[in-house]
């Protein structure tokens, strides 16, 4: 019998339930890709509408381990969303030596068009996990307080 060698599944994101708030999970071939996918899940907490990736914003963060770095990454996006009043829909992440450099592309919030459902307050350490599955897929997840 021939079986295909395990290979990382396609990049994807999802929400998972929490009593009061919402969980975000991103998966991909690398930790960086998982982080990018989780960022899509974060935007989807706020809106289901299309977000145009017109403006670029650079963020940097660092942490002693990958899990804490993931929370820092989401909090960096939440900060930019809040102070720039923007939503983001394209993400590029580079991780090296515990440091993350990211680019976010998005547009200012348009209340009519985006009909934002709720505002993320902060990413938490609850249900926090960044790990590589047996098939090589990286997944990154945590609960976001909204």
């Amino acid at each position: 019998m021939i079986t295909a060698a395990p290979s990382p599944s396609k990049p994807r994101w999802e929400h998972f339930p929490h009593d009061a708030d919402v969980g975000v999970r991103g998966c991909g071939a690398t930790a960086a890709q998982a982080f990018e996918q989780a960022a899509h899940a974060l935007t989807a907490v706020v809106t289901d509408a299309e977000v145009k990736p017109g403006l670029a914003v650079e963020v940097r963060c660092e942490a002693p381990d990958l899990e804490l770095l993931f929370v820092e990454w989401l909090n960096a996006i939440i900060y930019e969303m809040a102070v720039r009043n923007m939503l983001f829909s394209r993400f590029a992440v580079r991780i090296a030596d515990g440091r993350l450099e990211g680019t976010l592309w998005g547009e200012p919030v348009d209340v009519e068009r985006h009909a934002p459902a709720c505002e993320p307050k902060g990413a938490t350490y609850t249900a926090l996990r960044v790990a590589q599955d047996a098939d090589g897929t990286w997944c990154a997840s945590c609960i976001v307080d909204v």
Partner: protein, 476 residues
């Protein structure tokens, strides 16, 4: 949760005896049905809190407890600084000093109903709510520090509120010990344009009618009678509090190890009260309390402006303003001895009983108003603090209905449009920029608030004074 996991002390007191690393027992106040419906995580989190250094008497959970971060939401715990006690950023939460204020209007349902639709439209236009809404106030660096030190008193001095409101706000409208210098530039930047904004999620401004009076004497003292109309605002310290919570959670999760504190959950991040980081957090957290007090005072002012337009002779008088995500220094009797403790309330309301010296003279005889937010459809409650709450849970009571279902599950079950229509048919007008946001906050996604407050009353935490039903709900 399986009630068999507890020692049942009486119909509303459930105890977990110390085991493993627990330093004190955990006690949950709830009836058997509320216990059965609670997530097992509440058990786990109440137990984890009981392991923290310097905890006094017990780790408590209120009848509306649900799965939180580190602490359960509805968690109460007091720590003694002289016994190695800690202050926990996780034990206060992200929305520092989130709370509720209720204002009396002097109007009745018959006065308001003919104007209900226009009033709802006007409030929705005038109260910035939700993501992307813009506040009318921008603070420069000097104003920011003045606000973080002055709280609601600062708002009143700037003309956004009335002086007589202050004695009806916890800490007389200004939390002492705030240290704006320990609030980061990023936290201040997040708040620069957010004063006088409602936020989103479960935050709201409601126009409500008194639907039922349980205790006529106390209701009279509070100024509440059946069919009276009140305005209730639920919100907190906005981006500033969220950023402070985020930053200190990270710092304390890392520093805990250096202090030799074993954290069963990183979200319990804490530091000794008598440490540099502990003191720095307390200074920043108190500044965030002032931010929340100022924000609710400004929102109250906006509500006054709208009501003055529709009802020129109407005066909105503040009944009370409570905070339910805080850590405060309070003196409580423990085993007959007065001790100065750092009381964390994470989704729990302070509930001082009759005679407490901090209450204004007009309320002292009956106890502190305890304002309980329900859901959009089921209504809210006004309770009064009971003297017995001090012994039971350091003078604390529940804070809301508590969610029974995740946002995720609520979205699958309900359509926001249909909820708006169904509630309109019951005379409740919902105004929100997002129908999805309405679905996530569906009345059915919350516990039965009536069962929660009945359990709080039975447990001797606070007694019921009045039930409020919504007429208008502005949601972010």
């Amino acid at each position: 949760m399986d009630p068999a996991r507890f020692t049942q002390v009486d119909p509303t007191t459930w105890r977990i005896e110390p085991q493993g690393a627990m330093r004190v027992p955990a006690v949950i106040y709830a009836d058997e049905k509320l216990i059965r419906d609670m997530d097992d995580k509440v058990f786990e989190q109440a137990v984890n809190v009981a392991t923290l250094p310097g905890i006094v008497q017990a780790s408590y959970a209120m009848p509306d407890a649900h799965w939180g971060y580190g602490f359960p939401i509805g968690g109460v715990a007091a720590f003694d600084p002289d016994q190695g006690g800690v202050v926990s950023a996780g034990g206060v939460g992200f929305d520092i000093s989130c709370g509720v204020r209720t204002m009396l209007t002097g109007l009745t349902v018959a006065d308001v109903v003919p104007q209900q639709k226009l009033l709802a439209d006007s409030l929705f236009r005038q109260i910035p709510a939700g993501v992307g809404s813009k506040g009318a106030i921008t603070l420069d660096a000097i104003d920011m520090n003045a606000m973080l030190s002055g709280g609601a008193r600062w708002a009143v001095e700037r003309g956004w509120g009335e002086r007589r409101d202050l004695e009806r706000i916890e800490e007389d409208g200004r939390m002492a010990g705030a240290m704006p210098e320990h609030v980061s530039d990023r936290a201040k930047e997040r708040q620069r344009r957010e004063m006088g904004t409602l936020g989103s999620g479960n935050h709201y401004l409601e126009v409500q009618a008194v639907a039922e009076v349980f205790d006529a004497d106390v209701a009279r003292t509070f100024g509440l009678a059946r069919d009276d109309v009140v305005v209730t605002i639920h919100c907190g310290s906005r981006g500033l509090g969220h950023q402070i919570g985020t930053e200190f959670l990270k710092e304390m999760a890392v520093s805990a190890q250096a202090f030799g504190i074993a954290l069963p959950d990183r979200e319990l991040a804490c530091a000794p009260i008598n440490s540099e980081v502990g003191q720095r957090y307390l200074g920043a957290m108190r500044a965030a309390i002032n931010c929340a007090l100022a924000n609710r005072e400004i929102l109250g002012h906006y509500a006054r402006r709208v009501f003055a337009h529709f009802f020129p002779n109407c005066e909105l008088r503040l009944l009370f303003d409570v905070s339910h995500n805080t850590c405060k220094v309070e003196t409580h009797a423990v085993a007959g001895r007065a001790r100065k403790l750092f009381v964390h309330r994470k989704g729990a309301t302070r509930a001082f009983g009759p005679g407490h010296e901090s209450l204004p003279a007009a309320l002292r005889a009956v106890g502190q108003p305890v304002l309980i937010g329900g859901s959009m459809g089921t209504g809210s409650y006004v309770l009064a603090g009971e003297a017995s709450a001090e012994q039971k849970a350091f003078s604390s009571a529940c804070h809301g209905a508590g969610r029974a279902m995740s946002r995720h599950a609520a979205l699958k079950q309900w359509s926001g449009r249909k909820i708006v229509d169904d509630l309109a048919a019951q005379g409740i007008l919902i105004k929100s920029p997002s129908t999805r946001g309405v679905a996530e906050e569906a009345p059915g996604a919350y516990k039965d608030v009536s069962a929660v407050v009945a359990a709080a009353e039975h447990a001797g935490l606070a007694r019921r004074v009045a039930r409020l039903r919504p007429l208008i709900c502005i949601k972010g």
